[in-house]
Amino acid sequence: MTKMNMLQAINNALDTAMAEDERVLCFGEDVGVFGGVFRATSNLQQKYGKSRCFNTPLVEQGIIGFANGLAAQGSVPVAEIQFADYIFPAFDQIVNESAKFRYRSGNLFNVGGLTIRAPYGGGIAGGLYHSQSPEAYFAHTPGLKIVVPRNPHQAKGLLLAAIHDPNPTLFFEPKRLYRASVGEVPDEDYRLPLGEAEVTKEGTDVTVLGWGAQMEVIDQAVERAEKDGISCEVIDLRTILPWDVETVANSVFKTGRLVVTHEAPLTGGFAGEIAATIQERCFLYLESPIARVTGMDTPFPLVLEKEHLPNHLKVYEAIRASVEF
C-alpha cells in the first residue's frame, strides 16, 4: 500500500499495465515527455520509450481513429483526450466505429482493447469548455462501457479493469479530485469489477446514488442528513454503461426512496434513465418520487459555477424532501 492522490493512482495503473504487457500504449496530446497536462502519464515515455508513450498531433478524431485501428490490430491502446469537453470531434469514431466494430463484423474484428481516458467535470473554474460531464451522450450508445472512479483506490482498480476489459471503454476521470482525493492504493495489479455498483454505506430511509466526484458531495450531504436522523444508503454506480440495475433496485426495495445526482444538466441526463428504470422495477415500493439533483440546463458557467453545480446542500435538501414527502 502506498498513499497516492488520484493522478498518482492513474499513473500507477498505466505503469502497471505497460510493465505487464508490451501491447499497452499510451498516447494523446502532450502525453509524451511532458506526461500530459495533468501529468497522468508522467515518466511513462522515459520508462517505456517513445514508441509506446507519445504525443499525437492535435486532432481528437485522429487520436481515436488511430486508437481504433491499433485495437483492431491487437494492440491495447489507452488514448487520452485532454478534456472530456474536447471529445466531440471524435464522437463519430467512438459512436459509429468503436461501439459498432464487433457487432458489424459479426465478431470477426473488435476494438475491445481500447480505453479512452478523459478528465471530466466542474469545480475547477474551468468555464464552459473545461467542466463538462458528457457521459450521457455516450450512454446512448450500445457497445461502449463507461466507467467513472471516485477515489485513488477505485481509479487504479477500475482503470486496470477497463484496460483489460474486452470491450471499448470510456474512462472519465473527475479532475477536481485529481490532487484533492488521497488514499491508500495497493502497489500490485488489481482489478475492480465493471458493471457493478458499490454500496459504500448502508442505510434504511433513502438511497442516494451518484458516481465520480459527486460521491464526495453525497458523503457531505449524507453526513448532514444523518445528523437529522435520516439513515442513508449510498451507492457509487461506478459503471454508467452497462449499469448495475440490480444493486440499485435492491437498495430501493429496502429504502423506498431514491435520490440521483450528477453534474451534467438535468434534461437527458443519465439520472433520467435511472429514474425510469427504477420506477418500473420498484413502483409499488416507492414512498416518494425519485429525485434528480443535477447541473442546470445551461452551458457550464464560470463565475456562478457554485450556483450551477449540484452541491452537498442541494443534495441534502433533496434527501430531506424525499423522506418528508
Partner: protein, 394 residues
Amino acid sequence: MTTTKSKVVYSPVFTDGAEFRIPTFRLLKQDGKLYKSAKAPDLDKDKALRIYRAMVTTRILDERMLAAQRQGRLSFYMQCTGEEAAVIGSAAALDDGDMIMAQYREQGALAYRGFTIDEFMNQLFGNEMDYGKGRQMPVHYGSKKLNYMTISSPLATQIPQATGYAYGQKLRGEGHCTITYFGEGAASEGDFHAALNMAAVHRVPVIFLCRNNGYAISTPAAEQFAADGVAPRAYGYKMDVIRVDGNDILAMYQATQEARKLAVEHNRPVLIEAMSYRLAAHSSSDDPSGYRSKDEEAVWREKDPILRMRLWLESKKWWSEDDEKQLQENMRREVLETMKRAQKRPPPPLESLVSDVYDEVPPSLAEQFDKLKAHIRRYPDEYPKSAEHAKGGA
C-alpha cells in the same frame, strides 16, 4: 520554436503551389501495348492471370448483382465498374498478409485475395452464413482470414484506423503494412487529414489509396476541391505521393509495389492517387443521368481497364479468345448458381440481434431479449424469420 527552415524575404510573397505539378504514371496504352519508354513491371504469368481473373470476376459479379437488385432479389448494390485496375492492381502488389481497410467499392481486392462467390453471396443476402450475421447492408464485406477489414458505411473513418493499424504492425515488426482505400470525396473529411498527418509524423507503414473516380455520388471532383486533385495535399504532410493512371493495371501494380517498399522498408507512408472513372452509378439507388452526360461516360468506357489488360495478356500469348470465353461462361454460371443457393439459406438466428454488442450480453439487454422472444411467441405469424428461434427461454 518553429521548425520551418525557409528563407526570409523582405516584401510579402504569396505562393499558390503552382510549381508542384504532379505527373501521371502510365505504362500501358489502351491497345495493350506499352508506351515507348515504358517497361513492364516484374509480373509473372500466374500472378498476371490471378489479377485478370479477379478483374473479370468483379465485373461479372457486379453486372449480375445489379441485375438481381433490379429484379428485387437484393435491397442494394454497389458496382466497382471501371475501377477494377485501380483496386486489384494495388491489392495484387501487396503481400496477402497486409491489411486492407477499404471504403465500399473494393470488392475486387477481396476477389483477388480469394473471397469465394459463395462468401460474397452470403453477405449480399445476409443469410445465416454471412460472417457479418446479416447486420449490414449489402457490399459491407469483411474477412479475418483474408486480412480485409469489415466495411463501415461512414466515409473516411477507416483512414485514421489504417494509420493506427499500421503503427501496430510496425511495432510488431513482422514486415507488414496496411492499405486503405477511399474516394476523392471522402478525402474531404477531417479523418483524411488526421490520418495522413499522423502517419507522416509517426512514420507509419501505410498506403493511402485515393480512387479519384470523378464523382462523389453526384458531386463532380471540380466541386469537391479547387486544387489539382488530392495528390498535392501530400506535400503538406511531407509524404511521398504518386499519381497513377487508375485504368492501367501495370502502372497501378508497379506504383503500389514501390509504395509498399517505402512503407515497409523505410516506414514512409505513401499517398497514391489513382485517376479513374466511376462508370456505374454510385449505387443501385442512384441515377447518374441526372448529373452527367452519356458522352462523358462513353469516353471512359473506351478506356476500359479490363480490356486494356486483356490485350496486354494476349500480346504476351498468356491469354486467348478461348480462355476468355471459358472464363466468362464459368464465372457467369458460378455466380448464378451460387446466388440461387445463397438466397435460399435461412436468415441468421434471432440471437444474433443481441450478440456481439459486447463480448457478452449484459443483463439489461438479456432482459430486453427475453421480452422480445415472448412478444414474438404471441405473434409468430408476424415474425416468420424468427418465430422458430423465439421458442424456448423465458
